[in-house]
C-alpha cells in the first residue's frame, strides 16, 4: 500500500481530500466531545470533578504512543525502501507526538496535585511517558543537528527504529522499577472498569484527538513537500546562474 502512495502526485491527490476532512472532523468531534467531557458527563465518586482531566490526558497518552509507533514504522519503510514520503511522515509525526506526550505529562501533573497531593509522582505510566518524550526530543534534536537532508533522514530513521525496539523494554524496566518500590496505593486514572457514562465522552475525545493528529500530519507533509519543491527550483536557478557566470567569464 505504501508503495502505491509513495508516488507524490497520488499522495497529493489523497492529501487534498483527507486534510480538510480531518480538520473538519477534528473540529466537529471537539465541539461535541469537549462540552460532553468537561461539562455534561457526571463527576467521579472518588475523584469528583478532577476526573475530567482524564478526557484530555488519556487520549494524549494513546496518541503519543501511536505517533511513536507510526514514526518507527515509517522510519522502517524509509530505511528499507527509501520512499521520501515515509521520511516526510516521520518528520511530521515527531513534533505532533512530542506535543501529545508533553500534554499527557502536564495534565498528569495537574491531576496529581489534587489527587496525590503532589505535582509529580514517580508513577510507572507517567515515568514511561517522560522517557517517551525524551525519545521524541532526541529524535528531533538529531535531525535538527544534521544539515544534509538525506543524512538527517537516514540517521533519524535508524534512531526511531532503535527507539521502537527499545520502547517495550523501557516500559518493562520502568514497571519493574516501580513495583520494586511501590509507594502507598494511589488512585489511578483507569480503574478496572470504566463506567459507560465516561466511556462515551472518552471515545469521542479519542476520535477527536486522532482526527487532529491526522490533520496535523497531512498538513505538515504537504508543507514539507512544497518546501522541498521550492528548494529544488531555487537550486536549479542557482546552478543556471553559476553556469552563466562561468561561461560569461570564459568569453
Amino acid at each position: 500500500m505504501f508503495s502505491y502512495f509513495a508516488n507524490p502526485e497520488r499522495f497529493e491527490r489523497l492529501a487534498r481530500v483527507v486534510t480538510p476532512w480531518a480538520w473538519g472532523g477534528a473540529a466537529v468531534l471537539f465541539a461535541i466531545g469537549l462540552p460532553w467531557a468537561l461539562v455534561i458527563s457526571p463527576p467521579d465518586y472518588q475523584q469528583s470533578e478532577t476526573v475530567r482531566i482524564m478526557y484530555v490526558h488519556v487520549p494524549s497518552a494513546w496518541l503519543a504512543m501511536a505517533a511513536y509507533a507510526g514514526l518507527g514504522v515509517s522510519s522502517f519503510i524509509y530505511f528499507i525502501w527509501r520512499h521520501n514520503l515515509a521520511d516526510l511522515a516521520a518528520r511530521a509525526l515527531a513534533p505532533a507526538g512530542a506535543v501529545f506526550a508533553a500534554l499527557c505529562l502536564v495534565t498528569g501533573a495537574l491531576w496529581g496535585r489534587p489527587m496525590w497531593g503532589a505535582w509529580w509522582v514517580w508513577d510507572a505510566r507517567l515515568t514511561s511517558m517522560l522517557v517517551l518524550l525524551l525519545l521524541y526530543l532526541g529524535y528531533m534534536a538529531l535531525r535538527a543537528a544534521i544539515e544534509d537532508e538525506k543524512l538527517a533522514a537516514r540517521a533519524g530513521s535508524i534512531l526511531a527504529m532503535a527507539g521502537l525496539i527499545n520502547l517495550p523494554i523501557i516500559k518493562f524496566s520502568v514497571d519493574w522499577w516501580n513495583t520494586l518500590h511501590q509507594p502507598a496505593s494511589v488512585i489511578r486514572f483507569d480503574g478496572p472498569t470504566i463506567h459507560a457514562s465516561k466511556l462515551w465522552p472518552l471515545s469521542v475525545m479519542a476520535l477527536a484527538f486522532t482526527a487532529l493528529l491526522t490533520a496535523l500530519v497531512f498538513s505538515t507533509m504537504r508543507t514539507l513537500i512544497l518546501e522541498r519543491r521550492a528548494a529544488v527550483l531555487e537550486r536549479k536557478r542557482e546552478q543556471r546562474l553559476e553556469a552563466e557566470a562561468s561561461e560569461g567569464f570564459a568569453e
Binding site: 522517557v131 543537528a145 537516514r154 540517521a155 523501557i170 519493574w176 518500590h181
Partner: protein, 222 residues
C-alpha cells in the same frame, strides 16, 4: 576472523594509549561520586539509600563522556572508509572497536563502584553485588553510547546530542544495575533477578547496537 582480531587488538591499543585511556571517564565518574554527597547531605542513612542509584548513574555518565570521540575521530580522519571497505565489514569493525574500547577504558567502573558503595555506607556484600551489576551493565551502556556516538559522529555539539539520544535507551540498564544494588542493600532477595536482567540488557545491546551504529556510519559515508 584474523581481520576481526587485528581490529580488536589495534583498537585496544589505541583506546588504551589515546586520549588518556581510562583516566578521563574514571576521573569523571569519581568527580560525580564525590560531589553527589555534597548535594544530598551528610546523613548516613540517606546516603546509603541513595548510594546504589547515584553510583549507577555516575557510571552511566562515565560511559557517555568519551562517546563523542569514539566515532567522531574515525569519521574525520578517513578511518571509516578504510573499515567500510575492509573485508571485515563495518558492523564487525564497530563491534570490535566498541568491545576493545569498553575493555580498555571502562574497566575502572566496577572497582570504583565497589569503593564508592563502601564510602556511601553500604555493607561489603551489597557493594560487591552493585559492583558486579555494573560490570554486567557497563558493556551495554557503552554499546548504547557508541550507537548514539555513531549517529552524532562529526556533528557540532555532538556531546550534548549523544547524551539526549542515549539516555532514554539506557534507562533499562540503569534500572537493573541500580536495582540489583538496592535489592541487595534492602534484602528483598531480588538482586539475582536484577543481575540477570542487566546481563540480558547488555546481551541485547551487543546484538543490536553494532548493527545500528554500522548503519548510522554507512549513512554518514554517503
Amino acid at each position: 576472523m584474523s581481520a576481526a582480531l587485528a581490529l580488536f587488538s589495534r583498537e585496544l591499543k589505541l583506546a588504551w594509549a589515546g586520549g588518556g585511556g581510562p583516566a578521563g571517564p574514571a576521573a569523571f565518574n569519581l568527580a560525580a561520586l564525590a560531589l553527589a554527597p555534597l548535594a544530598i547531605g551528610p546523613d548516613g542513612d540517606t546516603l546509603a539509600a541513595a548510594g546504589p542509584g547515584v553510583i549507577a548513574f555516575a557510571a552511566l555518565l562515565a560511559t557517555l563522556q568519551p562517546a563523542e570521540r569514539l566515532f567522531g575521530e574515525d569519521a574525520a580522519d578517513g578511518t571509516l572508509e578504510l573499515y567500510a571497505l575492509s573485508g571485515a565489514g563495518l558492523a564487525t569493525a564497530v563491534l570490535m572497536k566498541t568491545l576493545a574500547f569498553t575493555l580498555a577504558v571502562f574497566w575502572p567502573i566496577a572497582p570504583i563502584a565497589f569503593i564508592a558503595a563502601l564510602a556511601y555506607g553500604l555493607e561489603a556484600g551489597p557493594a560487591l553485588i552493585l559492583s558486579l551489576a555494573l560490570l554486567l551493565a557497563a558493556p551495554g551502556l557503552a554499546l548504547i553510547a557508541a550507537f548514539a556516538g555513531a549517529l552524532a559522529a562529526g556533528l557540532k555539539r555532538a556531546g550534548l546530542l549523544i547524551a539526549l539520544i542515549a539516555a532514554p535507551l539506557q534507562v533499562p540498564l540503569l534500572v537493573f544495575a541500580a536495582g540489583a544494588g538496592r535489592a541487595a542493600a534492602e534484602g528483598t532477595g531480588l538482586e539475582g533477578a536484577n543481575l540477570m536482567m542487566a546481563a540480558a540488557g547488555s546481551l541485547a545491546a551487543l546484538a543490536l547496537a553494532p548493527l545500528g551504529a554500522a548503519a548510522a556510519l554507512r549513512a554518514r559515508l554517503e
